[in-house]
Amino acid sequence: MNPFAVVAAAAAGTFVAALARWLLHRRDLGSEADRATFATLHTASLAAPALREGLTPDAATAAARHLRTLLGSRGVALTDTERVLTAEGPGADLLDMTLVAPVLRTGRSAMTRPPGTAGPGLRFVVAPLVIDDRVLGTLVAVTDDATAVLARTTTEVARWVSAQIELAELDASRARLAEAEVRALRAQISPHFIYNALTAIASYVRTDPEHARELLLEFADFTRYSFRRHGDFTTLAEELRSIDRYLTLERARFGDRLQLTVRVAPEVLPVAVPYLCLQPLVENAVRHGLEGRAGPGRVTILAEDAGADCTISVEDDGIGADPEQVRRALVGEGDGDSIGVGNVDERLRLAFGDEYGLVVETGPGLGTKVSMRVPKYAPGVHA
């Protein structure tokens, strides 16, 4: 996607918003021309939300009414490259795809008339919807009186519609990006962990084959859960079960050095949480809790009931970290060391809103506590 177009669209949007605000806050509503501008901007703002859904029949239908007001034409139609998405106003139903085909091919505005008519009468002013040099569809103004002014207006409105649809694509690609990050996270089960776990298992093969077998099965279950393909959410119970397997393997390696406290309120086990949202936190806690010291380290996992929410925290008593560094990791500027944490934070915010991000309490030498709040119910979130 062309970054300039995105920036330009954002700037235009900001400008329009600022202008609308300025107009709204003026004591008198200005001259005739000002009022016309205001009315135009207002109509545009009404059409914008629908267009932000993308170029779909529903969105086109919702936007058509406002676009017709904006154009001041008798009717209006929107098409994509294959079909007419919506046709509003008398005469608009006469439009068919053969009439817009030349515009789709050339990317230039044109004027046509319904087939089988001659002389003055119904005209279609067709303007292309262009994003990144691709023609995605057309905007058609239906009129009895095709003037150069209307042709120009149609072209400009088509440009504005294109910008809105581009923003819609931006939203969609942002969601895809988050999804891709989850995929990456799944694939990112640390290679060190796999290596260490297998080495630890190997060390038991001769001395305690039964234990080695159990550990291997735990390892298999753990990887199956981590690589599962479906669903963005899981229950806290399932996530904890996977963490239990992970910790069993880590204990095989660290033995008594890794001390663990787990306290889970049974009321919150069915809560839906983003898939693999605790795993990176526990992994970090184990690493930071035991890194750079000979003695044992303690990791504490708490899940508590808090009315309509539940609070989950993962704490270690290890070396801690510089708060500034953690802040950078959370906004995604980190050096890759804690990429999991930033990802968890972002997915929590995406799913439940900005109020539900991660909270990290830490300081050098003070240990680290990462906590989150998760609502017991959120629309569209199912385990």
Partner: protein
């Protein structure tokens, strides 16, 4: 009336034990080896005990006996109805509701119909029903302490309001399931042991019989109760259909891992409630023998508390009175804290959360708790004293006229629309709450109008269902687009993994 401090000690003990279990119940730290013990879900028996513990309120513990004493066998419909409510819940609502993933009733409204406005209406109704249900808990605490120690009636209300407000607002009820489960067994012990001993004493006294007269005749209108047939049907409708719409009931169901466990839990609840409800009518009937002067007075609700002292006297009487007082306070505390948590959750999330003025989630929850407790507490001080079970049944009537249509039609009728559901909530809730408000403010009324207002469920419930159906059919082009998806989620068996 005996004035002694033993029951007070028993009450204090209940408060302390409640607080200790609530705070430290899950504080037993688990080490690695029993990770899965620490994260095991609640068994149906424990969860059913918790649901029953939260459900058995002042009305069940004190109110039923008082009503049976005063009005005779017709009042047996109260315990029957309170129990059958769970049967209806089991058959029509339990498993689909759990599968919906909703934690509160507004959540269900949003999940099923996807409307924020409907969610707001549901939130307001949850708060109003909760307040109406809290009111008799405070009044019950007042009359209990008054009957046992002679303290003014506001003292008991203050005790319950402060204990509940503080524990809920500070998040002290961390392991609320274990607390409520404990309260159920405490209540069962506190009512069954004295009841059995009282029956034994009654046999030893030669099983004296009272001149029952119309007391034992169904639908006789004994005790000056006019229109007994209408009122009985109204009670039946309110209690059978109201249970599913109580704010604190649904919240406990969330603890079950899936729909099947929810059904099993509900079945156990039916057994536990049936066991409990054997005993309150025993007190009512024995009250006719030993304390007939209480019948028809505002003190009728205290028959459970006074009977042991009257029959046994001395040390035994003291001990049994203390046990009953402890059970009664367990009833007030468990129901009141469960309700406060639910109301505070809805207040903080749906009503206070609309602006940023009230701060973050924790702060909003505290403000919500304060509002949830203080409003019914003040109402308890100013409102006229009705029978406890009557007031609770009004809350049931409002729930039956609002959330019952929403839940039953929402789960079983794909053609329900947002407008239909909203209209049902507004019409059903408006008429039932209007009747309740009139009774609380200016009641009691006489005549058939009085009966209609006293027990509104018989006309408000059909009215709400009718409104929902008619309005939905008139707006049939507005059936929410996500209806099929929601229906699949509600009804697909747990074994089907729908996440793909």
């Amino acid at each position: 009336m005996t004035e002694s401090w033993w029951p007070v000690l028993a009450v204090i003990a209940v408060v302390v034990v409640t607080f200790v279990i609530g705070t430290f119940g899950v504080r037993v730290s688990r080490t690695t080896s029993d990770f899965l013990v620490a994260s095991r879900s609640v068994t149906p028996l424990v969860n059913a005990s918790a649901i029953s513990g939260e459900y058995l309120s002042a009305a069940s513990f004190l109110g039923i006996a008082g009503l049976v004493l005063t009005y005779g066998v017709d009042m047996l419909w109260f315990p029957v109805g309170y129990t059958v409510g769970y049967l209806v819940l089991l058959v029509l609502v339990a498993a689909p509701l759990r599968r919906s993933g909703a934690y509160t009733l507004p959540d269900f409204a949003e999940m099923r119909l996807g409307s924020q406005r409907l969610r707001l209406i549901a939130s307001v109704l949850v708060v109003l029903i909760g307040w109406l249900y809290l009111l008799p808990q405070f009044q019950g605490a007042g009359i209990t302490l008054h009957a046992l120690t002679g303290a003014p009636s506001w003292v008991g209300a203050v005790v319950v309001a402060v204990v509940v407000g503080v524990t809920v607002a500070t998040g002290g009820m961390r392991s609320i399931t274990s607390v409520q489960a404990f309260q159920y067994w405490l209540k069962l012990a506190a009512i069954s042991i004295p009841a059995v001993l009282l029956v034994g004493a009654w046999f030893r006294h030669g099983a004296p019989v009272f001149a029952a007269g119309d007391w034992g005749t169904p639908l006789s209108g004994y005790g000056g109760r006019d229109y007994p047939v209408y009122k009985t049907y109204s009670i039946v409708l309110a209690t059978f259909l109201g249970t599913m719409g109580l704010p604190h009931v649904l919240v406990r169901f969330y603890t079950n891992p899936d729909g099947r466990a929810t059904r099993r839990t509900t079945l156990v609840v039916l057994g536990l409630l049936s066991a409990f409800y054997v005993f309150p009518p025993v007190f009512g009937a024995l009250g006719r023998v030993y304390t007939p002067e209480l019948a028809g007075t505002p003190a009728a609700d205290t028959v459970v508390l006074l009977l042991p002292g009257r029959v046994f006297g001395g040390w035994w009487g003291e001990a049994l009175s203390s046990l009953v007082a402890a059970g009664a306070f367990a009833a007030f505390l468990s129901t009141a804290s469960g309700l406060s948590v639910s109301i505070a959750g809805v207040l903080s999330h749906d009503l206070l959360g609309r602006t940023r003025r009230f701060g973050d989630g924790v702060r909003r929850f505290r403000i919500g708790t304060l509002v949830a407790v203080v409003v019914p507490f003040l109402l308890a001080l100013v409102a006229g004293q009705l029978d406890l079970a009557q007031t609770v049944t009004l809350a049931f009537a409002v729930a039956a006229s609002t959330f019952c249509p929403l839940l039953v039609l929402g789960i079983w009728w794909p053609r329900l629309t947002v407008r239909g559901a909203s209209a049902a909530l507004v019409v059903g809730g408006g008429s039932a709450l209007g009747a309740v408000a009139l009774v609380l403010a200016a009641g009691p009324f006489t005549g058939f109008v009085g009966a209609l207002l006293d027990q509104p469920a018989a006309w408000t419930v059909p009215l709400a269902f009718g409104t929902a159906v008619v309005v939905s059919l008139r707006t049939r082009d507005r059936v929410p687009r996500a209806t099929s998806a929601a229906m699949v989620r509600l009804h697909a068996p747990d074994e089907l993994d729908l996440r793909r």
